[in-house]
Symmetry: C2
């Protein structure tokens, strides 16, 4: 899952879409409006965000309402936090080694 989450947020268009959805639910057309690219391209980005479970779709007639489901971001945040912890720990060990030596 982490892979798809990170791939999903690695694209600036998709990050912009997520930021837009952080303001609230929106239709595909609404989400697409600010972008210079075609509606179809935005639709594809949304599909990738759905695949990564970062976005949920509620269909009401011909309109598709999109909403954020940010849970997968936690896994990404956790990985980064763990890396930083390990790194900090190693720096601590290095310091100890330097002090002892």
């Amino acid at each position: 899952m982490l892979d798809e989450t990170l791939i999903a947020i690695a694209d600036p268009t998709r990050r912009a879409i997520l930021s837009r959805l952080a303001e609230g639910e929106a239709r595909v057309t609404d989400v697409a409006r600010p972008f210079a690219i075609s509606l179809n391209s935005v639709s594809k980005h949304i599909r990738m965000l759905e695949r990564a479970k970062l976005v949920r779709r509620r269909i009401e007639g011909r309109e598709h309402f999109l909403a954020l489901t940010p849970a997968p971001l936690d896994e990404a945040a956790d990985w980064i936090a763990e890396q930083k912890t390990l790194w900090a720990w190693r720096l601590g060990e290095l310091e100890k080694a330097l002090k002892d030596g």
Copy 2:
């Protein structure tokens, strides 16, 4: 920069390389050993990590020693944290609206 950082950590092989380097400096060959893929492929992954400034290389004779430089991870962590904050804020607003309504 954020783009390259996220793309860099979106690949599981590269995340494994970073985890290895979190234990300490290592040569290209050392980093490559645990992987089933060719040394050359690992070399390419390392180049991407360097491009993202997540890894620094110190050349000593014929050996290239690699070390983690995790600073760019902060930017990624910040983006995720901001998204979660915005989302939490919006949930708060929703609750308020529900209570008032």
